[in-house]
Subunit: 192 residues, 2 copies
């Protein structure tokens, strides 16, 4: 068993492909995101790419799983460092999603993912699955469901605004949105 084996572990190859695919998405955008472009950037051939991801959609699924997992992790990490339990998860979701300004690469990747989800609805479902994992298992949070939803909608709207360049939202404004939820003061009218 040689440490310099020529045949790598499949998981390594898959990981490399996804990593490079994200680079291509970041640099070339949706129109330049082709299997050939991705393969050209990896150390493996297009054949190997198709061997590990049997279709373009399968590759996008892999990318979305990767991004979804990372995003879910960062939401949980934000929640873990938030001392205030009230509305913690919703706040963490907003922080992890749009707290810091996007790089041009982030925007480009966001656009590719967005286009993919718009063209292939199953990909949108797959993303939703990842994000759904976060809000589960926190009955300890006394925040009203409506308020929590409100903050998530704000986060999503802000994300879309950043991706499409709709509104210029300052850091102060983002900060203000984070302060919306306070214990015992429901924002929306019909709390349960």
């Amino acid at each position: 068993m040689d440490t310099t084996t020529r045949r790598r572990a499949p998981d390594d190859t898959r990981a490399e492909i996804i990593e490079k695919a994200l680079e291509v998405a970041a640099e070339l955008g949706a129109s330049g995101f082709t299997l050939d472009a991705v393969a050209a950037r990896t150390t493996v051939s297009k054949g190997a790419l198709l061997h590990h991801f049997p279709s373009k959609i399968a590759l996008l699924e892999g990318m979305i799983d990767h991004l979804g997992e990372m995003h879910a992790d960062s939401i949980l990490a934000e929640a873990a460092r938030d001392p205030e339990p009230y509305g913690r998860n919703a706040r963490a979701y907003l922080r992890a999603t749009v707290n810091e300004p996007f790089t041009p690469q982030d925007i480009s990747i966001g656009r590719v993912v967005m286009a993919a989800c718009a063209i292939e609805p199953t990909l949108a479902q797959r993303w939703n699955t990842w994000i759904d994992k976060v809000k589960i298992d926190d009955p300890s949070d006394p925040v009203g469901a409506d308020d929590a939803l409100m903050l998530r909608l704000i986060a999503d709207g802000l994300w879309m605004s950043d991706i499409f360049g709709t509104h210029a939202v300052s850091l102060d404004q983002r900060q203000a949105l984070l302060s919306l939820l306070t214990p015992g003061h429901p924002i929306t009218a019909n709390e349960a």
Copy 2:
């Protein structure tokens, strides 16, 4: 000047093409939205289609202009029938955008527009231009800019949620979001 002229006014043809293009978008989705499919549905040929819209992007621009104009109108209409001046425009934006549940056709068209904007950023700018027209020219509204922005982000987030099927938001919850803005009670912390 014959009323049954065989050569129609160009504007009529353009209008028909855009109308039929939206039908194709509604029924076939982003992957089925091709120039051939659009031409096949109109009374004119593909050549005429390309005569009026010299490229696919030009056609999408025409569709976005159409949708943007209609949407801006319906926002203004909502605003006009709202007796409460405080936050009127922001509320109207939310109402016009996501007050009533989307039909599958609406969702499909939304996805096509979304994909187009994600792939071709200039289209996103074009949409923004239409929507920007609404918030202009209302210095009479005393609502804080931050609160107005908040409601717009909620509306956008809700729109995206409807398009991607992320959250199931009840009519009651939508109603509650409309009640967020009340005079003299800023929601966000740092009102000007």
